[in-house]
Every structure is written in C-alpha cells, then in structure tokens.
C-alpha cells in the first residue's frame, strides 16, 4: 500500500502516457473486449504493485508490455474464453477493417488475415503482435519476451508460414 501512495503521481503519468497503446495491445492480444479489459486492468494493477521493482534504466514501455504479455499468458492458462469473437457486431468489424488505409489488397483478405492471426498458436501470435503493433525490432521483441533473438526469428518465420497457409 505504501508503495502505491509513494508512486501515485508517477504512475498516473505513466497511465496517461500509455493507456491508449496498452489498451490497443490488449485488444490485439485478446480478441474479445471483455478479456482485453481484464488484461488491461490486471496489467496496471501489477505495474502499481511492482513499481518499486521497476528498473528506471530500462524503457518503461518495454517493462509495461512484458508485464502485459506475461499477464496474458497467465490469463490464457486459466481462461476458458478463448474463442469469443472480438467484435460485437459485423458492422464494427467492418468499420475496423475498412479503416485500413490502403485498399489495394482485397478487404476479404484482411479479414482472413485477421482470423488467421487469431488462430496462431499463442507464442507465435504474441511475437507477431509485438513485431507489427509497435514496429518493434526482433531484438526488442526478444527483450520484452525475455527469449533469445533467434527464437523470435524462428517464431516469426513459423508464424508467417502459418499465415501464408491460411491466405493461400
């Protein structure tokens, strides 16, 4: 409790700065808003409770995302809600997909890609989300996930192969 009080201001600032990005990441990871909200809240809870452990020499963003990913992994172990559909209506899905700026590629392929990402094995999906959501390098992804860069590369390759299969 003391820790929460001491770092209140700092944490508030961090929340302000990263709430949007984190909520997006949660949505990308979870594919349903209820689970994403849970993940978002759980992540900040963990940040608040563990803020004293945060190494200020390390970028906060990466620390935050690694907590988020770890929390997501734990949630996946216990959650039964694994295949709920993210969008409550088809219209919402359409709005999202149609907001993709460049439309040279048929929209239905974006739908397929979207579905394909959701079907990826968890460990591959996480790598894909981190790599493309924030445009992180493979090294950054490795740092966040605390795995070797080589593993990130191989998972990324495997993920792409699976995506190719789904899109062919």
């Amino acid at each position: 409790m003391a820790v929460i009080v001491i770092h209140r201001e700092t944490i508030n600032k961090k929340i302000k700065l990263y709430e949007k990005d984190l909520s997006k990441l949660c949505i990308y990871l979870c594919r349903n808003t209820t689970e994403a909200e849970d993940l978002y809240q759980e992540t900040w809870l963990k940040v608040i409770r563990n803020f004293h452990k945060y190494d200020i020499d390390r970028p906060f963003e990466k620390w935050l995302y690694s907590i988020c990913i770890n929390t997501f992994k734990n949630m996946r172990k216990t959650s039964a809600r694994k295949h709920e559909f993210l969008f409550s209506t088809k219209e919402k899905e359409d709005i999202c997909i149609s907001s993709i700026p460049h439309q040279d590629i048929p929209q239905e392929d974006y739908y397929r890609l979207y579905e394909a990402i959701s079907k990826l094995p968890h460990k591959h999906k996480v790598v894909v989300v981190l790599r493309y959501f924030k445009d992180y390098s493979e090294k950054d992804v490795a740092e966040i996930l605390k795995i070797p860069v080589g593993t990130v590369k191989s998972r990324l390759n495997k993920a792409k192969k699976l995506l190719f299969e789904e899109l062919k």
């Binding site: 700065l17 949007k20 919402k92 997909i97 890609l113 990402i117 445009d135």
Partner: protein, 432 residues
C-alpha cells in the same frame, strides 16, 4: 514461395503492418485506472457487480434507516454516510460543477456575447439545472475543457514541433498519400507515407499527453489554474448567470474522466457532466463507465469522499460513433465526414444531418429517452448540429431500474426527479 502462396513475403509484411495500424475506433475501451487503483482499492473491477449489489443493498438499508436515524439527533452516527436529499441551505450542498467543453465553449462564449441565442443556451442550462436552489444560494460553476484550451498549449512542443505544425505536416502527408495512392505510385512509397501519417498522429497524441504532465507540474494540478481562480466563478444568484463573461470561466487543461470525477469527489457536490463535441467522447466513455461494471466503485468512492449528492450523467451524442455511422452510410471516409462537417452547406452536408437524425432516433431507442430537436445550431467552427432538448421523466427512470446507471441516478438524484421531469439543455447535448 510466390508460386505456392497468394501473397509474397513483402506483401504479407505490408498487410500485417496495415492491419495493426487499423484504428480500433469501434471499441469504447478506455478504462481510467488511476482513480480506482491508487486510492487504495484493491478490488478488481470484475467484482464491481458484486460491489454494486452490496452498495445498492447498503443504500437501501440506509434509506430505510434514515428516518430512524434522523429521529435520534442526539446520537448521530458518523459511520453512515449522508446520502439523503441535500439541504439547499447548507453551503456544501450548493457547489456545482457544470462542465462544458471549453475548446468549443470558449468560442461559444465569444459568440454568446453577440448572440442572445447562444447566451440563452448556457445561461438557461445553468438556470434550469443549477438555479433550482433559489436566489439566495451560492453557486460555483466550472467549465471543464479539453487539452487544447490549456494555457500555452499551442506553444508547447513535442520533439521540436507544436501541435499546429504537426497538423500541417499531417495535412501535407495525407495529401501526398492520396496523390500517390490515386496515381499508382510504388507500393513502398505509399507504405512509407502510411507510416509517416501514423507517426505524426502518434506525435500529436504524445504531445497532448506530455503537455498534460507539463501543465500539472507547472501549475500543481491539472486543474491548478482553476483552483487559484475559482472564486471568480462563484455566483450569488441565478440572475448572475445572465451576466457571465468569458473571464468568469476558467478553463481546465483537461476534462478527462479522472479529473472530473476527482473534482466531484474532492470539491463539489453536484456534477453536471460536460457537453460538447470533444468532451462528448470522454463523457460517452464516462457514461458507459457508469453504466457498466466500474460504476459501483466510483459510487462508493464518491460516497466515501466529501459529500457528493448527485452526479447527473449525460448521454451525449457520441459524435465519433455518429461520424462513423455517417461515413458508412454515405460511403465516404471518416476524414471526409470530419472535413465536410466544417462550414459546408452542401447537399452532402444536408444528407449528413439527416443521418444524424436517424442516429439520434437509434439513440432514443437505446436510451428510451424522449427528446426533440428544437432547431439547428451552427457552432463557431461552422459545424451544425441539431439543438436538442431532452427530458427523462421519473416514470421513465423507473423503467430503467435494473440498470446500474439508473439505480445510481435514483439514489443520488432523488431530489432531481421529484419534479415532473428533469430536463436540461445543451448545444449538442442530450441529457437526463
């Protein structure tokens, strides 16, 4: 790989980038965290429904016990919060937050000085909602605004550039993007521009976020400016509302949900939620927030804080959702809707307003809320929206009894609905 699969690796890479840059505007996913977590509450929001039930039962019990407790005036119970109808003779019951998006609000007030109609809009709202305590009461009014109205905002720089400069860069990049896309430019160029647009957008968001921190550090709190000047916005009687000058209203740097709630909790007993376009987004979130699982926690926090007698939440026309709906219906982009809503009197613009009415009809069904469009208003930015008068009768409120939001209103706005109806006015506000 090319022969085997439909897309090349480069194309897949491009698709992934595009997909993850897609705007997920369709989600109302913005849960204010700090207010709830940093006040010591350890309960997770998923328990809030349980908490709601507990609070509801507690309130019910308190309401039942109130007559008994009031009789025993020699033995007051400090442990039970006073949630009874506020006594208008007590000063603390007369503090009021009236929020208006100041970015538009400030301009509206500039207009208000020149047009009686606009003056009526704000002052009438104040009279109706705030003036009910009578001529001898004491009023405190705050206009909460967006970050754009913060002091020095337009001079503030993020990575060397002001918000206006980023806006210009963005416009240029977007024009180029359209040009390239329409002229079959190399994919790589279009992709780069797409990245650039996202980067600029991100810079603008970061600028706002950093500015809020800067403001807070400079002025003490995010509403520090307000705190040092609020005496200017105290009114002796409703008649004074007719003479409100622009200087009477001191702008908040932000009207985020957290700030508004904090104001309500710490300083004020009645909160009228903000109204206008940009703030509408915040309030839409807030409205959902109250209606959903987190509301009981806020309610509890408010009860525990300084006396808060009522929060009147408003269901504002969700301008973003509307714009999205309009864009879909018209088969144009979201950006085009925004661009064409500013000062354009074209056919397109008329169509847009018709869709707006349809949208409101949808809203009406959702909210079971009676409203009528009095007339159209053109705001100082040139955007026209129906001027809406909206009422919600006590009977209607009772119909919502199973809804947490209305349970909240029933418990805290009892005094508000003892009249035949509760009504308010707003330029682009639906409230109840």
């Amino acid at each position: 790989m090319m022969g085997k699969y439909k897309y090349s690796e480069l194309e897949l890479e491009y698709m992934l980038n595009s997909l993850f840059q897609a705007e997920f505007k369709v989600f109302s996913f913005n849960i204010p965290v700090n207010e709830n977590f940093t006040n010591g509450s350890k309960k997770h929001y998923r328990y809030s429904l349980i908490a709601a039930a507990c609070i509801f039962c507690t309130l019910f019990a308190v309401l039942l016990l109130t007559p008994f407790l009031l009789k025993n005036t020699n033995d007051p119970s400090p442990s039970i919060p006073d949630i009874s109808t506020p006594d208008p003779d007590q000063e603390e019951n007369r503090k009021i937050v009236y929020g208006v998006d100041s970015f538009n609000g400030i301009q509206k007030f500039e207009v208000a000085r020149e047009t009686a109609d606009h003056t009526m809009n704000i002052s009438q709202a104040l009279k109706n909602e705030i003036g009910r305590y009578g001529d001898n009461a004491y009023y405190r009014v705050i206009i909460a605004g967006s970050v754009f109205s913060g002091k020095d905002f337009w001079d503030y720089k993020y990575e060397g550039y002001t918000y206006s400069e980023y806006q210009e860069f963005y416009k240029e990049a977007r024009a180029k993007y359209h040009e390239y896309a329409n002229n079959n430019a190399p994919e790589e160029l279009i992709k780069q521009l797409n990245y650039e647009l996202n980067r600029l957008n991100n810079c603008m968001e970061k600028l706002c976020a950093e500015y809020e921190i800067y403001y807070k550090e400079k002025y003490g709190t995010i509403y520090g400016y307000l705190e040092s000047h609020y005496s200017f916005v105290d009114f002796e009687k409703p008649a004074d509302f007719d003479n409100i000058s622009l200087e009477d209203y001191h702008m908040l740097a932000t009207a985020s949900y957290d700030t508004v709630i904090e104001l309500a909790k710490d300083n004020f007993s009645i909160l009228l939620a903000p109204a206008s376009q940009k703030t509408a987004v915040n309030i839409t979130e807030m409205d959902e927030f109250l209606a959903k699982k987190l509301s009981p926690r806020i309610m509890r926090d408010l009860i525990r804080g300084d006396p808060v007698d009522a929060i009147i939440t408003v269901a504002v026309n969700d301008i973003e959702s509307f714009n999205e709906a309009a864009a879909n219906a018209l088969g144009v982009s979201y950006d085009e809707i925004i661009q064409n809503s500013l000062g354009n009197q074209s056919e397109f613009y008329k169509k847009r307003n018709n869709i707006y009415i349809d949208y409101l009809n949808g809203l009406k069904n959702d909210l079971m809320c009676e409203y009528k469009i009095d007339h159209y208003k053109i705001d100082p930015l040139g955007s026209s929206f129906p001027y809406i008068k909206c009422t919600l009768s006590p009977d209607l409120i009772k119909n919502f009894a199973r809804d947490a939001r209305v349970a909240f209103i029933e418990n805290y706005c009892e005094w508000q609905i003892t009249d035949d109806k509760l009504q308010t006015y707003g330029g682009d506000l639906i409230s109840f």
